[in-house]
Amino acid sequence: MSKAISRRNFLMATGAVGAAGLLAACGSKPAASSTASSAASQAPAASADESLALSDGPVNLSISWWGGDSRHAAYQSALEAFQAEHSNITVEPTFAAWSGWEEKMAAAFIAGNAQDVCQVNWNWLYNYSADGSKFVDLNTTSKFIDLTQWDSAAMDACYVANSQQCVPVSMTGRIFYWNMTTFNKAGITEVPKSLDDLMAAGKAFQEKLGNDYYPMHLGAYDRMILMVFYLESKYGKDWADPVTSTLNYTEDEIAEGLAFIKSLVDNHVMMNLKTYYSANSDTATHQSNEWITGKIAGIFEWDSAASKYSSALDDSNKDGFTVGEEIKFGDNNGGFSKVSMGLAITKTCKNVAEAATLINFLLNEEKGASIMGSECGIPASKAGLKFAQDAGAVKSLVAEANAKVMAFTTNKLDPLFENNDLKASGTGIYQEVFDNIDYGDQTPEEAVETLLDGMESVGYTIG
């Protein structure tokens, strides 16, 4: 018995050495320096911590994530595979749905008892660890995580307080989705590719299908993102500086953006918010009767939301669900991609080497990545994506949307954009701005001030 264990330990140790050797072999471009060079404006990144090593004895790790059924299942079988491979490591999972999860994790971060490895939302890095106090700098773990598998842009987004606080699990961006069943009924056979197409669709819907049919519906936050998309497409600059959150647009330009959104409402491209609320309150679009029955025939949503929206459609509309094309409102590409979630190691973790090995297993290695598939979004790790695709574990609809989004989004997102005081449905500033316009309380020009005041109060520098 004891012999068997020691033999396994021996294999473990040699396996670790082997893996390290492999990393060194493909290390013509060392991981740590690649991120350091891309984060040029900041201090040089920490290099690998040579003292980190895997332990021979039994090790307990904990990991936490939020999600739904299929994500829970994927993580759990990936963890089983990991434990089969590393028999001295036991991984204890904690998981639940998103609702309430952030409160739980916030309390745990404050008390210092969060799990060793945490699935984190991108804005958590800024909300909880803006000073770098909560998460380990993953550059120090480059011996165990192959950091070269990620684009530098994606890695930079997780580089906060001079520290690589997490590695991105997946990237996401917004794209149009259309219900072509309804479009066909209105006599339109191709997905909209330009502003003119949109306006024409609005007209066709109203004339052929009636006043209660709309080519598209967007909530307040969606409208804000589309407005930024429009402005970026037109003026070719980020909404705000990704590091300093200095706004890059003038009042006139923003007024133009708000007027653009209003023109979509006025031309029957989008439903007036008040009309939407009167039937649905603040219910998400995919749960609205109008979406399910095809009266709302378009949305502008995250690529990861594709299956949620397509599966919500009723049988007569299901087949019409189509991933849209980019619409250029100007000479440039609009829109931004962002890290949808990452994996981080907490500073309270006692077995950083093992935790890093686990992250590498889940995101970069064949066994882990092929089980995880697209359960946490389309993998951002190149190796992980390849393994997941080879294993056929990537949802084709989401993959299509993701590929399209990543192809055209070049703009960067600043962390304050998603600040809760702005974004919150119900009480946020974005909501107030677009409600004001749709309830007729403010013109787009007047609403600019409301928006800028709100942005200033959360820390934007207004030029």
Binding site: Y276, N420, G426
Partner: protein
């Protein structure tokens, strides 16, 4: 202890001391519980309310009354306070009257009374279930059940308001939800009604008092302690109500259902501004305290306790 009930004439000073303080003996668990589990979090939150506490930012500094002053100068907050008052003053009386009315009917000999009681308690069991969120919106939607009924009853003359999008009407939606969940208050009234001695009714019937007169001259006075209890706790709960607006309207439209507790939650767990969250919580604390003091002062006038001598 044992001897404390001996005839008063033969009391030693020790026994007198025991007589005086034995009540405290029964409060020992509560006192420990208060000191260990309540005093610290309460003190902590009171302290936070005078600081710019943010758990995720270094350096907490004492800001005095700044949070309180800012609160009363922030339109969003003062508006939420007014809405919360409206909400409480609508729901508390209606819920109590309704609960008492139904409990009174259920107190008669009724076929299938167990079934009725259970049915009336169901809304309270459902609590903040997702099913309620879905249904509520469907009922109050512009072409929803309620407006359909309104149209049918008035033969199409009245259209019915846009409950969910009109800021003037939306508060009624969550008020109705609260009144609908009257089960707990009803249960307490039922328990109290059973405690009213039957001979009082018999005497009244002999005197020729009708059912309604009996209700107001016997039933109500006899259960005033429970009416009072329900009043105090319902005021308290109404001011802290969170679930209704959270699951149904999320504070909208136009902030017309943003109760103060929704803001407290947002400050505490979305903006991490623990200082402001605590200040708002303590403002609510003071408001409820004042209302309770008013209620307690008034109870001498209308609440009847059988144990009073």
């Amino acid at each position: 202890m044992k001897k404390s009930n001996a005839p008063a004439g033969a009391r030693t000073p020790f026994q007198k001391w025991v007589d005086k303080y034995q009540g405290l003996f029964y409060l020992i668990p509560w006192i420990i519980g208060f000191l260990v589990f309540k005093a610290f979090p309460f003190g902590q939150s009171l302290y936070y309310s005078f600081t710019d506490m943010n758990f995720f930012k270094d350096g907490t500094s004492f800001v005095g009354l700044a949070n309180y002053i800012t609160a009363f100068h922030t339109r969003k907050i003062t508006k939420a306070l007014i809405i919360t008052f409206k909400y409480a003053f609508i729901t508390v009386p209606l819920k109590l009257i309704f609960a008492l009315f139904i409990a009174y009917i259920l107190n008669f000999k009724i076929a299938c009374v167990n079934l009725f009681r259970t049915v009336y308690y169901i809304p309270s069991i459902l609590g903040g279930s997702v099913a309620i969120a879905v249904l509520w919106k469907a009922v109050f939607s512009v072409d929803g059940l309620l407006n359909t009924v309104v149209r049918a009853v008035t033969f199409g003359a009245v259209q019915g308001p846009e409950w969910l999008s009109d800021p003037n009407y939306a508060l009624w939606i969550i008020c109705f939800l609260r009144i609908w969940q009257f089960g707990s208050a009803m249960v307490l009234f039922l328990a109290a009604l059973k405690g009213v001695p039957a001979d009082l009714y018999e005497a009244a019937t002999i005197d020729g008092a009708g059912k309604w007169r009996q209700f107001f001259s016997i039933t109500v006075p006899m259960i005033t302690p429970i009416i009072f209890y329900n009043l105090v706790t319902q005021i308290c709960q109404a001011f802290q109500e969170f679930n209704g607006p959270y699951i149904i309207t999320n504070g909208g439209p136009r902030g017309s259902t943003t109760l103060i507790s929704l803001l407290v939650y947002n400050y505490a767990f979305k903006s991490y501004d623990m200082g402001m969250a605590s200040a708002l919580a303590w403002i609510m604390f003071i408001i409820v305290c004042i209302l309770t003091i008013i209620a307690f002062t008034s109870q001498k006038k209308w609440v009847y306790y059988s144990d009073e001598r």
